[in-house]
């Protein structure tokens, strides 16, 4: 947005300025407040992210505005220190050295007691209002106890050797909060005006508006914007319009069909990044027309993933070529676990028992961003292969009902895979936290179970990679899922604001990631 100042305006302005400075005695040319205005498509039910409910990514997106944890993932997915500076593992014990002089929003300094309190708070079922068990169980099921061992040192004792503890501590479900302030605020207070150690402090949180002020004492430096205002603008067209009209500086979750409009505007730009998450087709291997593995194989082989990425995502996504993402131990594109090969697909279909049975494809509608077109194209690719596909999107609730009852044949789901393949494969294990896949959709072999069981306690990256390659191959042979593309975060940003889309879906306004 360019504002025009005419000669007359200028004279009036300077006159007024001179007059004002004569009378007020204060310098008028004080530095203007830097305000960052963000338009979001969705809204967190509350701000106590340790207790955040719901299957969506809403919490994760806002948590890093106000919370810091012991560690954080960087943009490449590597773990880097945040409130902990060092850590060492000794079997069942993870020992963390804490950062010195970390200031909370209320001005108090972080102690080992605060950290112990914060992590125990996650373990306390009474503190968990929604009964969700904060990522829960995957975060806390391995923790036996947390104890202070020094002024700036704590030890997490695990129930079994846990090589993934660092990853768990880096999720948005493990924020560090001050004990005294949290106890004084209570759960209700933490839900609307949390006190924590992140770069911004919440000063207002309402139904459609959240105002945050910079945390002057932030350990990582003073944040660039003095104030951040987040507004809920659920309708895509309105959010894009507000960005174009100059009413907001950042529009989250930009629809793909708006990329060109925003990119073409003189003062706006589009930032995008593939997330540590991918979209997959999930197939029912237990009941219905997809019980024959050859049909599932034919379906996976017939999906031209690169075409979807190029045509529908403008090349901003990445076609999946394995069950894991690059940089994760065990990822191996050369293994050919996930690929497009029409000849082979036709051969697999010919070898199958398939004889024209109806295959109902139920992608969930209006949930995964920008997934409507890709699923339509996938359905068409299957039809072209010779399958009798009925494309029938479902709304989230009916989908969940049908899904949990084991009634669906074929749908889509996204999987988080950051750091380690277990974040994917734990969903399929025998004692999976919630029975989303077994027994209704896929019951893996005893061999799968024993590899998963073993890998949970292995620290050696080479050993983990070898195990993961076996699991990937097992999935490639049985095709319970067909990975399609890495999901993408796309944001529209005003020029002059240096904010990158984040692969973990966060709005990261820490001084090292954001300036304006």
């Amino acid at each position: 947005m360019t504002s025009k100042i005419s000669r007359r305006h200028f004279l009036a302005l300077t006159g007024a300025t001179a007059a004002a400075s004569m009378f007020s005695g204060f310098p008028v040319f004080a530095q203007a407040e830097k305000v960052l205005r963000i338009g979001s498509n969705n809204w967190p039910a509350h701000l106590d992210f340790a207790n955040q409910a719901g299957p969506s990514n809403v919490g994760r997106r806002f948590s890093s505005l106000m919370y810091d944890a012991l560690l954080i993932f960087d943009r490449q997915g590597a773990l880097v220190p945040q409130l902990a500076t060092k850590w060492v593992n000794d079997g069942l014990e993870w020992r963390f050295t804490l950062r010195e002089g970390v200031e909370f929003h209320d001005g108090t300094t972080m102690t080992a007691d605060d950290v112990v309190y914060s992590l125990r708070r996650l373990l306390d079922p009474a503190g968990d209002q929604q009964g969700v068990g904060s990522y829960g169980t995957s975060l806390t099921r391995y923790i036996a106890d947390v104890a202070k061992t020094g002024d700036l040192e704590i030890v997490i004792t695990t129930t079994q050797p846990d090589p993934l503890m660092l990853f768990r501590m880096a999720t948005h479900f493990a924020p560090i909060v001050p004990q005294a302030a949290t106890e004084a605020l209570g759960d209700a207070g933490m839900q609307t005006a949390p006190i924590a150690a992140g770069p911004y402090k919440v000063v207002e949180y309402g139904a459609d508006r959240m105002v945050l002020e910079k945390h002057e004492g932030y350990w990582g430096g003073v944040p660039a914007a003095d104030q951040v205002i987040v507004r809920l603008i659920p309708e895509d067209a309105t959010r894009v319009g507000a960005l174009q009209a100059g009413e907001i500086d950042v529009a989250l979750n930009l629809p793909v069909d708006q990329i060109e409009t925003i990119d073409g505007a003189a003062d706006l730009g589009v930032k995008s990044i593939p997330l540590f998450n991918y979209m997959s087709v999930l197939m029912n291997t237990v009941n219905g027309p997809l019980t024959d593995v050859n049909v599932r194989r034919a379906m996976s082989l017939s999906i031209d993933r690169q075409a979807i990425v190029d045509q529908l995502w403008g090349g901003r996504s990445r076609a999946m070529d394995d069950y894991l993402l690059p940089n994760v131990p065990g990822y191996d594109a050369a293994a050919g676990n996930v690929r497009f090969d029409l000849e082979e697909a036709r051969a697999a279909l010919a070898a199958s028992s398939y004889s024209g049975e109806e295959i109902v494809f139920n992608p969930v509608a209006n949930y995964y961003s920008n997934s409507e077109l890709p699923t339509q194209v996938i359905a068409q690719m299957w039809t072209d292969l010779g399958l009798n596909v009925t494309y029938s999107p479902m709304d989230l609730q009916s989908y969940f009902q049908g899904y949990l009852a084991g009634q669906l044949t074929c749908n889509i789901q996204s999987f988080d895979v950051y750091g380690d393949g277990m974040f994917l494969y734990q969903n399929f294990m025998a004692n999976a936290p919630i029975p989303l896949y077994r027994p209704n959709y896929f019951v893996p072999s005893a061999e799968f179970d024993s590899i998963v069981e073993g890998v949970q306690t292995k620290f050696s990256l080479d050993e983990r990679a070898a195990d993961m390659r076996q699991l990937n191959r097992y999935f490639a042979e049985n095709v319970p899922t067909a990975p399609i593309y890495q999901t993408v975060e796309i944001v529209g940003v005003r020029d002059g604001i240096n904010l990158e889309a984040d692969p973990l879906f966060q709005i990261n306004l820490r001084p090292d990631s954001f300036s304006m």
Binding site: T137, I233, A237, R239, G241, A245, S398, L404
Partner: protein
């Protein structure tokens, strides 16, 4: 007195019917716990959460508890926000009234005179223009109108804000969007009603008696034409309330309309039920007021 009692009984039965329908429709439409629970939660937690929310009881037991609670003014806690549903809905009511009341008033204040003029100037260019325009406006989806207004006045000219509830200027576009549909209906209904009256024998008699045309219109025609208009205006309350759900979402307006859409998405039963109950109450109240207005407008009508 008797009339009042029967009217209250009817109101009570209507609201009870609405409550019952909403309760069962919501219950049969999906499981909120499946949405709230994260993928990593245990089956045990799932069961515990259902129990905590009272969803493990038989539906009929839930229904009785629900009615008993409402009778005591307890609408339950929102499943999403874990706070009293009534408190959350009540906080949003002013925002919705800011849009719906002006919309209702404007559609009457503008629509009625336009309809009267159209009728008296039947066939004129003014009549044709008004009728064409109202037909066109009535046919446009509100969603489309809202986005169009945002693009023209917010994005292109930058005269008005595109979203949010920050001040007086923010009201203009949503109110225009919300007013268009009832306005078009009021214009057409008024025009037809006035045309019916113009041709009625009593108007011809009045002309024959040599009364001034202005007096015929003001004292005889318009009061009679008002009756169907008031009826339709009353019915439009429901239309405006449901329109508000769409308009509020388009303009990111934090009223009960956008809240109810969110609540339906999240299967937040207590919120849905509270919103529906309040909307039903508003609708029923409007109808009672319409009945009372009849008496004022036309002395021949008695409440009995």
């Amino acid at each position: 007195m008797k009339v009042l009692v029967s009217s209250l009984r009817r109101t009570f039965l209507t609201i009870l019917g609405v409550l019952t329908l909403t309760f069962f429709l919501a219950r049969f439409s999906g499981d909120p716990v499946a949405l709230l629970i994260s993928q990593a939660s245990t089956g045990g937690e799932y069961a515990a959460m259902r129990a905590q929310l009272g969803l493990d009881q038989p539906v009929i037991v839930q229904y009785v508890i629900y009615l008993a609670n409402i009778a005591q003014g307890n609408f339950g806690n929102s499943i999403t926000y874990s706070r009293p549903a009534l408190e959350i809905v009540a906080a949003r009511i002013p925002a919705t009234l800011e849009l719906t009341l002006p919309s209702l008033i404007l559609s009457g204040l503008i629509g009625f005179p336009l309809g009267v003029v159209s009728a008296y100037r039947r066939g004129s260019w003014l009549d044709l223009l008004t009728m064409r325009l109202s037909l066109a406006l009535q046919s446009l989806p509100q969603f489309f109108v809202g986005i169009g207004l945002i693009l023209i006045f917010g994005v292109h000219f930058r005269w008005l804000p595109t979203f949010g509830r920050d001040g007086f200027l923010n009201l203009i576009l949503p109110i225009i969007t919300l007013t268009i549909y009832p306005l078009a209906i009021i214009i057409r209904i008024t025009r037809n009603a006035v045309l019916d009256e113009i041709g009625a024998p009593y108007v011809r008699t009045a002309h024959g008696k040599g009364l001034r045309p202005a007096r015929i219109i003001g004292v005889h025609t318009i009061p009679n034409a008002l009756i169907p208009v008031i009826t339709v205006l009353g019915l439009q309350v429901a239309g405006i309330l449901s329109g508000a759900a769409i308009i509020e979402t388009v303009f990111a307006w934090p009223g009960i309309g956008s809240l109810s859409l969110e609540a339906v998405g999240g299967r937040d039963y207590p919120i849905i039920q509270t919103v529906v109950l309040l909307s039903a109450a508003a609708f029923v109240t409007t109808n009672i007021m319409v009945d009372l207005l009849y008496v004022l407008v036309d002395p021949r009508i008695r409440l009995s």
